[in-house]
């Protein structure tokens, strides 16, 4: 008897030891202990859970903010948040199933459960125990509703299972640390934002640094046991100006790296800030653009945002299944959606590309599945979708893209987006293609989108399935050799399938952009690496603008710039 127990522990230890570099922490041990304890009792219930997972996200953060050369904030925080996954029913139908007709059912599954930041097993287990009980009761309620809904509604178009079966993973690494010299960064950020002071038309000029160690603990009843830790730093610069007609003109720059040393040096940051200031000063007096249809180039960063919004959100797997979704690409599988020379890849497994750290990197996703490289579009043909553990027709497994912010139920989300042309064109040549196309279409000019602030997209059924990208810096490129002219007040609009058919060339100048992407599972870090692209026809409309006049009194400057 004793021997058997001993053997069992040895095997368990062996399993844990394989493929790991660190010690299993008190947190992980407590999670596993309570999972077994609670599940042992719940298994005896009439509708027992078939799956239970605990995830704890530990965030240790240092932050510094400065505005116009003075400190706005500076501090440190440490928090831990718990999220539970509990499923009643079975893999084919469970409590998480979409309840048709109930808008709230899928939209926001959010739980806010703070859990102690110290490692006392008894205290951690007490929280896990109580929350498991609450969640179990909620799940059984949901399951009853799901069964009724299924009975009273018509047959669903996609009859896939609710939860995929995956190989359990065990991986434990030591929590990382991040050394941040806060006084140094306070001085840096003050210095960066000082230059905004000399410009009376810049109304907001901020810099912020966020240095985080994100340690994730995950255990599930399927045997998955993970402890991963990633340090990262983000530096953001923002500035805002206003034209005399009231239009607000924002500019952002963001930098990302896995260590403070990976961020650009002061000189480079200050140069970028100077460009922001120059752009804004020029934009204030730039002419307004009229609605226009014609050829355009999207520079790397702008094209990245464009791909993220217009394509990315439509290849998220669960959207092909939800009955409320437009499912733009569902029936396009195996068909050509893009120029055949272009591949679109999502790869969370790489942390660095072309000399830039990638913020969409992770070893395991938020459902405990190993991150995988996914080629969504190959030679212009739509091959597959980004998948979490919510299976869809033809795709019964996750490809490691189940993601969510702490507290949110994960759904399929984007990671590191890479747009890869097979035969890239030199960017100067791309410009000539634009001019040629304008001449052919008898347009006096084409548009060149240098910077995009972000965008939004509606993928649902009840609203037109369109996108709206918010460009910041746009130039008219004239066919008659006049210099490029900066314009403002442009929104890039359209429907996704049409516009993708019109991307006919891509450049050799990939740029990497970082952002946080917001959707129903919260905000997740993503990156986009994309070259310039040429679109034979885009549509732009007038931007909705603020009706408020610029400040009546001039800025209260005590000293003039020199």
């Amino acid at each position: 008897m004793n021997l058997r127990l001993l053997l069992l522990t040895v095997t368990l230890f062996y399993v844990l030891a394989s493929g790991q570099s660190g010690q299993q922490s008190v947190v992980l041990t407590a999670m596993k202990a309570e999972l077994d304890h609670s599940l042992g009792y719940l298994k005896k219930q009439e509708s027992p859970p078939y799956f239970l997972s605990y995830s704890i996200i530990d965030l240790q953060r240092t932050y510094v903010g400065a505005t116009f050369g003075v400190l706005q904030s500076s501090g440190e925080s440490h928090s831990r948040q718990l999220a539970l996954g509990l499923r009643v029913g079975d893999y084919s139908l469970d409590n998480t199933h979409e309840i048709r007709g109930d808008v709230a059912s899928y939209q926001m599954r959010y739980q806010y459960i703070p859990i102690p930041i110290e490692n006392d097993s008894d205290v951690l287990r007490t929280v896990l125990w109580l929350e498991t009980d609450k969640r179990y009761k909620k799940a059984t309620d949901e399951y009853t509703k799901v069964k009724t809904n299924k009975a009273v509604k018509v047959k669903e178009e996609d009859a896939s299972d609710d939860f995929s079966r995956e190989q359990p993973s065990v991986y434990v690494e030591e929590p990382k640390t991040l050394k941040i010299d806060r006084p140094l960064w306070e001085a840096k950020l003050k210095n960066y934002t000082k230059s905004f002071r000399d410009h009376p038309n810049i109304f907001g000029g901020n810099a912020s640094l966020e240095a985080t160690v994100e340690t994730k603990y995950f255990v599930s009843s399927e045997g998955t046991m993970l402890q991963t830790s990633v340090p990262y730093v983000r530096l953001g610069i923002s500035a805002v100006s206003k034209a005399d007609d009231g239009m607000e003109l924002p500019r952002y720059e963001s930098f990302f790296a896995f260590s403070p040393e990976g961020l650009p040096g002061d000189e480079q940051v200050i140069r970028r800030i100077q460009t922001m200031i120059d752009d804004l000063e020029k934009l204030r007096t730039a002419p307004l653009v009229d609605p226009y249809t014609g050829p355009a180039i999207l520079a790397g960063g702008a094209a990245g945002v464009f791909f993220h919004e217009v394509l990315g959100h439509r290849v998220e797997g669960h959207r092909q299944k939800l009955e409320t979704e437009g499912q733009t690409f569902r029936k396009k599988l195996g068909e050509k959606v893009l120029a055949d020379s272009i591949d679109v890849i999502y790869d969370p497994t790489i942390d660095r590309l072309n000399g830039s750290d990638l913020s969409g990197y992770y070893k395991y996703d938020d459902e405990g599945v190993k991150g995988q490289k996914v080629t969504v579009i190959e030679n212009g043909i739509l091959k597959r979708f980004l998948m979490g553990r919510n299976p869809i027709e033809k795709f019964s497994n996750s490809n490691g893209h189940g993601r969510g912010q702490a507290g949110f139920q994960p759904v399929s989300r984007q990671s590191n987006l890479i747009v890869q042309p097979k035969n890239p064109i030199r960017s100067s040549r791309l410009r000539q293609i634009l001019i040629d196309e304008c001449l052919r279409k008898q347009k006096p000019y084409g548009l060149m989108f240098a910077q995009i602030e972000g965008g939004f997209t509606t993928t649902g059924r009840t609203m037109p399935n369109s996108f709206n990208v918010l460009p910041l810096v746009v130039y008219r490129v004239y066919t008659d050799g006049r210099p490029d002219e900066l314009v403002r007040g442009v929104d890039l609009v359209g429907t996704p399938l049409t516009v993708f058919g019109k991307i006919t060339a891509a450049g050799d100048d990939p740029e990497t952009w970082y952002g946080y992407c917001g959707a129903e599972s919260g905000s997740v870090p993503v990156s986009q690496t994309c070259p310039s692209i040429f679109i034979s026809e885009v549509e732009v409309q007038k931007k909705d603008k603020s009706q408020e006049k610029p400040p009546i009194l001039p800025a209260p400057f005590t000293k003039k710039a020199n």
């Binding site: 202990a33 304890h37 609670s38 042992g40 009792y41 719940l42 219930q45 505005t67 116009f68 050369g69 003075v70 400190l71 706005q72 904030s73 501090g75 440190e76 925080s77 440490h78 928090s79 709230a104 926001m108 959010y110 739980q111 806010y112 459960i113 703070p114 859990i115 102690p116 930041i117 110290e118 490692n119 006392d120 008894d122 205290v123 951690l124 287990r125 007490t126 896990l128 125990w129 109580l130 009980d133 609450k134 969640r135 179990y136 009761k137 909620k138 002071r197 109304f203 907001g204 805002v240 607000e248 603020s546 408020e548 006049k549 400040p551 009546i552 009194l553 800025a555 209260p556 005590t558």
Partner: protein
């Protein structure tokens, strides 16, 4: 007298640095920046033919503090001492008789991206900002608010043009300019010491197997406020605030949720009770909560109710206090919004009752922000000058049951044209400070209980009810289940009863025997009920708490003037109150035994 106390206070507490008035020293630039930008705005802020502002007030809060939370001996969160500097601008266009204020419109929400100025006129300035940084923020905030004010003034005129005005009360009252400067106070926050303290206090719950969840949160803050208006008032003064709040919750065997709390509020952290006393009170609460799990249920009760000590103070604080403040119903160009605000303001029958009997004839009520202690117990609701720069003063609200006046800010009431120095918080709304309830007819505690029993006999009831502790909206929010925020959000939007839920309720039988009851709600308490107070105790209970109006962290601003209220009241015997068993649906008791205590 008060002065002497201050001097002693300064001498004993070495941590608190009392600095001389002129020692604002290096912070003089703050006042200079406020004054220079205000002068510039008053001289030049004008669009076309529209009116310039007639009133402008600037406030700067220089504040810092730390807060820590722990549960069962483990830290849940800990923030380091962090400094911030919210600034506030109040701007009026039109004239005192009719201006842009007291008007709400949907268009007012979210406009400029140049600077984020909240609806109450608050903007976060850089905590380390210099003269230039402050002027820049005041410049932008004033500009944004001036445009908002013009917009609101014209909309308000438009709405009222086509409606019959029943109320022609002025929008703003006249006050004498007032200036005062007191020395800054600074307190050293020892984060580590606080962390250790909350670990120890929260570890008390480790021995209570019947309690499912508990938390101790504590913190200490300091602030210095600079206030300046264009009428010549200038107030510069410092504050210290510290707190320890303890919450606990569990379920009865039938699953009924039960919770309780203890809280300590003081100015300096040195003024908080000692750890031993805190632990005693935490243990008393934990014992009471544990005992409540096995309390009996009672379907309903209609009859006399004795509110003892804390329960009497909560009934006064939640039921009576807010109705003794002047409330102006805002004008709106949107019927839905107007209705929403009216619902939030609730019933305000006191507004028209000046000169009428509102309480039992032996009861009087006074509000006195100038007091800082009562019979040796510290009060936390006081202040020397209110948020609009008006000196604080004692106000006799109810004398022998007759309503004499209401608490006012500079927003007048149709029968009270002047401010009585009760503008509180960033919204500058009239609110209670230190509220004193006194009775000319008193009994000792035993007599009071006998009176309850006698009244029950008279009504043919088998037993009477004593309530010893009540919750309030502030703690209801703290103990709300956060694991499902959406459902608790919807649950919170129902109609609001006058007072919260009783926590500690007992049946009292004719022989004096008591029996604990759980899960009762007060169903029919109205302002009318206060006329039917039949007796009061000899002793008065001092209750320091956070006003139920809103949480300090709601806006992220540690607002030194707002939120803290003291109530001093005897226990009160009400002639007739209806109670019923709560009908709120709840979870069953946990299926799985406790991982540490077992079952």
């Amino acid at each position: 007298m008060r002065k002497r106390k201050n001097i002693r206070f300064m001498l004993v507490t070495a941590v608190i640095l009392g600095l001389a008035v002129d020692a604002l020293g290096q912070n003089q630039f703050i006042i200079r920046a406020m004054k220079d930008e205000m002068d510039r705005a008053m001289a030049g802020l004008k669009i076309d033919t529209m009116k310039p502002p007639y009133y402008l007030a600037y406030t700067v809060y220089d504040q810092g503090g730390c807060s820590v939370r722990a549960s069962m001996g483990s830290l849940v969160s800990s923030s380091e001492p962090a400094r911030s500097r919210p600034i506030n601008v109040q701007l009026r266009v039109g004239g005192k008789g009719f201006d842009n204020t007291n008007f709400v419109s949907f268009a007012a929400f979210g406009r400029s991206r140049l600077a984020y100025v909240a609806e109450d006129g608050t903007l976060y300035s850089a905590f380390e900002g210099d003269y230039d940084a402050l002027r820049r923020d005041f410049w932008l905030a004033t500009d944004i608010l001036y445009k908002r004010a013009l917009d609101n003034l014209s909309k308000k005129k438009a709405v009222l043009q086509n409606s019959v005005r029943t109320d022609s009360t002025a929008d703003f009252s006249i006050v004498e300019p007032y200036s005062t400067t007191t020395a800054p106070l600074a307190e050293k926050f020892d984060k580590q010491q606080w962390e250790e303290k909350v670990r120890r206090l929260s570890a008390v719950f480790k021995k209570y197997s019947g309690i499912q969840k508990s938390e101790v949160s504590a913190g200490s803050h300091d602030a210095y406020m600079y206030f300046l208006n264009n009428e010549g008032s200038q107030v510069n003064r410092g504050y210290l605030r510290s707190y320890v709040e303890i919450t606990a919750s569990t379920q009865a065997s039938d699953g009924m949720p039960l919770n309780d709390f203890v809280a300590f509020y003081a100015t300096s952290q040195r003024e908080l009770p000692g750890e031993k006393e805190m632990i005693q009170q935490i243990e008393a609460m934990a014992n009471e909560l544990t005992a409540r799990r096995d309390a009996v249920l009672l379907d309903s009760y209609s009859g006399p109710v004795l509110f003892e000590k804390q329960a009497a103070a909560e009934v006064i604080a939640q039921g009576l206090g807010p109705s003794l403040c002047n409330v102006r119903e805002p004008v709106s160009d949107n019927a839905q919004l107007e209705q929403m605000i009216k619902n939030q303001l609730g019933e305000n029958t006191m507004q028209n009752k000046i000169g009428a009997k509102v309480l039992a004839a032996f009861i009087s009520v006074t509000d006195d922000p100038t007091k800082s202690s009562f019979n040796g117990s510290a009060l936390v609701g006081g202040y020397p000058v209110d948020a609009e720069g008006v000196p604080a003063r004692e106000v006799k609200l109810v004398e022998k049951g007759i309503l004499k006046t209401l608490l006012t800010s500079r927003t007048p009431h149709k029968r009270i044209p002047e401010s009585n120095g009760h503008a509180r918080g960033l919204a500058h709304q009239a609110f209670v400070s230190n509220l004193f309830v006194t009775s000319t007819k008193t009994m000792n505690d035993a007599e009071l209980k006998n009176a309850l029993v006698a009244m029950c006999k008279e009504r043919g009831l088998d037993f009477g009810i004593v309530i010893r502790k009540m919750t309030n909206p502030y703690f209801q929010r703290l103990t709300r289940d956060q694991s499902d925020p959406m459902s608790s959000y919807y649950a919170a939007t129902g109609p609001k009863p006058l007072v919260g839920v009783p926590l500690s309720v007992f049946k009292v039988y004719p022989d004096g025997r008591e029996e604990r009851v759980r899960g009762m709600e007060i169903v029919d308490m109205t302002l009318q009920s206060f006329k039917e107070i039949t007796a009061a105790s000899k002793g008065a209970y001092v209750y320091n708490h956070i006003t139920s109006q809103r949480r300090p962290s709601y806006t992220g601003i540690f607002d030194p003037q707002d939120t803290r209220v003291s109530v001093v009241t005897p226990s009160l015997l009400f002639e007739s109150i209806d109670l019923k068993k709560t009908s709120a649906p709840h979870r069953t008791a946990p299926i799985v035994p406790h991982p540490v205590f077992g079952q």
